[in-house]
Symmetry: C2
Subunit: 462 residues, 2 copies
């Protein structure tokens, strides 16, 4: 009658998982913290740590209990609210408990310590959502959408992810796959019972064509999803004293980098996040690009070169008082070879400033004059195609994109075979491959490796 302790996330034969717990809110001081626990016997395990154990054991699903959370010696850690969820009516599909404590770092630490010494183990990143998938609460496209909502950096990204959480990708894939499965079923009947006169089964080429078009159109949305979700990297470059830090500060509207008259003040790149026309922008203020004997500054220059190399767009700032010098020309040419580049002519507010030449956008990073024109020039270069209809699925997962491309490759092979009159048993293999790839997207077909790779990118506590 002994029971082996389980230490992995593997499901028991009856689909019940070992108890896990994690902080679900950020580890920082605030009014409230939420600690989430899920798995087998979770309510039974937490009851002795709660001031009203019997009430907790008897609590119906979706109820809230007020009481004290205690350590194993009965000492009160904090006054808490405990939210009770009963399988299958929970996020994970298992019995679950959420502890709402004060958002106090020592409280969070003590509660977690107490849980971890009372039968719980720390949850892996994304493990609650993994369990929701394993218990059939979510397919993999919705599971990915959970993470995409959390990581959304603009309202447009949130809205696209919410759409996916609602099942738009799952439905699109299932619909395409359904038609392929119908065709394959008829082919396989014929292959299994050749003696029966079911007539020659033809794989209808127009259905394959239409499926290819639908999948191509879906995979094309990946770039759009990426831009809104991941954002773009914009680097501000230019010679020392051109006003890069002032421009950076103007964009992020807070005083993050030191602005000073000493050449080389910005010793390292500084990064901030802002939103330009709905697109999240990681903005980088690079160090002054002058050569220096100072080891730290040289390191800064090296780093800023690597930032420029990875940028999606560079804003090159020219000092409007000094005008374009040979170094500027060389730099802009080098940058524009690799990445889109917008050139700004700074300090137009100063009386000494020269006239802004054509092709440059004259601005004053100091007064903000004409900076909107610069912002607009950046926006036109970074926003993806508009006009994606509301509710139309937009893909944001490289995993989904790769699988659709695998399905597409198999369907194109199918098409070639059908057109060339290859026997259906050979063509059926390509069709099976396409269906398998589509099944992996929703998780109908999956492996532990795929799941591990997918969920490791999630937050702990989700």
């Amino acid at each position: 009658m002994s029971t082996d302790e389980k230490t992995t996330a593997d499901a028991d034969s009856d689909g019940v998982h070992d108890p896990i717990a994690a902080l679900a809110t950020p580890y920082a001081q605030s009014a409230v913290a939420v600690i989430r626990a899920s798995g087998a016997r979770v309510i039974e395990l937490i009851a002795p740590l709660f001031s009203r154990p019997e009430k907790l054991r008897d609590a119906p699903r979706y109820t809230i209990m007020h009481g004290r959370f205690q350590d194993r010696d009965g000492r009160t850690i904090d006054e808490v609210l405990v939210n009770v969820f009963r399988a299958p009516h929970s996020y994970t599909g298992e019995d679950s408990v959420e502890i709402n404590s004060h958002g106090s770092l020592p409280v969070i630490e003590r509660i977690l310590e107490t849980l971890y010494s009372s039968g719980f183990r720390p949850a892996e990143p994304g493990e609650f959502t993994l369990r929701a998938f394993l218990t059939g609460k979510l397919d993999l496209t919705r599971a990915e959408a959970v993470n995409e909502i959390i990581r959304a950096r603009s309202d447009r990204a949130r809205s696209l992810a919410m759409n996916r959480l609602g099942g738009s990708i799952e439905r699109a894939i299932d619909s395409v796959k359904g038609r392929l499965v119908d065709i394959l079923a008829r082919v396989e009947i014929q292959l299994d019972y050749p003696e029966e006169d079911t007539g020659e089964v033809v794989i209808p080429p127009e259905v394959i064509d239409e499926t290819i078009v639908r999948l191509e159109s879906l995979v094309a949305t990946y770039r759009i999803g990426r831009v809104y979700q991941e954002g773009v990297r914009v680097a501000i470059a230019g010679r020392t004293n051109a006003g890069k830090s002032s421009l950076f500060n103007l964009f992020v509207r807070e005083d993050r980098s030191i602005v000073s008259d000493v050449p080389g003040t910005t010793r390292d790149y500084i990064e901030a996040t802002t939103i330009i026309d709905g697109v999240p922008v990681r903005l980088f203020d690079t160090a002054g690009l002058r050569v220096s004997e100072d080891t730290i500054e040289t390191e800064g220059v090296r780093r800023s070169e690597s930032i420029l190399g990875a940028a999606d767009l560079v804003v090159y700032v020219v000092d409007g008082i000094e005008g374009v010098v040979a170094d500027d020309e060389r730099r802009v040419e080098q940058i524009a070879d690799r990445v889109p580049c917008v050139v700004a002519w700074n300090k137009i507010d100063l009386v000494d400033a020269r006239v802004c030449p054509a092709g440059y956008i004259g601005i004053s990073a100091e007064t903000g004059e004409n900076v909107e024109a610069l912002r607009a020039a950046i926006a036109t270069r970074i926003t993806p195609e508009r006009g994606v209809a509301d509710g139309r699925p937009v893909i944001d997962s490289v995993r989904q994109k790769d699988l659709i491309e695998r399905a597409l490759a198999a369907l194109r092979e199918t098409k070639v075979g059908v057109d060339a009159g290859v026997p259906v048993d050979a063509v059926a293999l390509d069709l099976q491959e396409a269906i398998r790839a589509l099944g992996e997207i929703t998780g109908e077909v999956t492996t532990d490796d795929i799941l591990d790779a997918m969920f490791s990118g999630f937050c702990v506590g989700k």
Copy 2:
């Protein structure tokens, strides 16, 4: 029958307050965010923003509802759980709702925007707790304890604050006050009905003495509470290249400040938090204290001087290779005049290092050798008296301390009057003042100004 919109936190005549809402968890990406709403008609106001409005309107207290939170045009913002609280069974004592959404920044922003355009206003810091006080759910000592738990920076501080949240201060004050009120009542009966022969009322001096002792002992705990709650400031000082940054990094065990061989690398002070022997320590790495023509470095030196001035303890690091130079001697003398100072002799791991003189603690910030001895020397200088019995109230609020001192001053006057045989009607005034001061501690007597000052130090959302 028109109803004026209320825009302040003032209670209506029936004790119902205007609807407020705020994020109760940190504004950062995470699995879960909690948005809290409380006040009049809160469930009625949120129902049209929820996918199951009728269910929400009918929800019993302490229940959780799953659904979609929508904007005013019915577009889904996120899938959420809504926790329903009904007056008076809530934190604030009012009808309240907590929205558990994904911990996504755009989700948080959209939900708050939607609430703020649907009859809610942003809650002031501490306003939920203020309401709990106004509806009689908490006295002021417990309300302060809520904030103290959240701000606790060590488990000992949390435990002391939890004790106060449990009412230890409230009970101590009420018990002392109760005895004074009894005495005053008898005095006042005699003053009001002098014709009745109630016998000469004597204010028992031993009761006043005992009360003074109890309050003195309570107020003496303030220093202990402070150290565990606020922590202490420890600054690392020393000449350029003595190894300040290495020592700083060793203490905080992460690479926050740049350690380099270029003199003057640490341009500004850098702060980190660590815990030494249960006491939260704000550790400051000061700039190299050399005089420089460089404007930024001069600014750094100025700031590090101000850090040293505000420190509770200074760790002065001497370069064990260079030995103690005149500049070190002058500095240590200056520092030790104002603040406790521990002197470390660094680089004992190097062959060139001189022998560590008596009174210095020889260490290697590079290898960590003997740093535990330095840590112990710091600990003995920063930890307050031990031996505060578990459960004994420890005060952590300057407001409470000042009021106890006011009560003590009045009681000492009472004592003088009693001893000098002053008529009871004169002594009664001092007694009243002591009782009034004690009543302010728990909030039995209070004013809007006192409440504003107190709650403005709270988190938003609490």
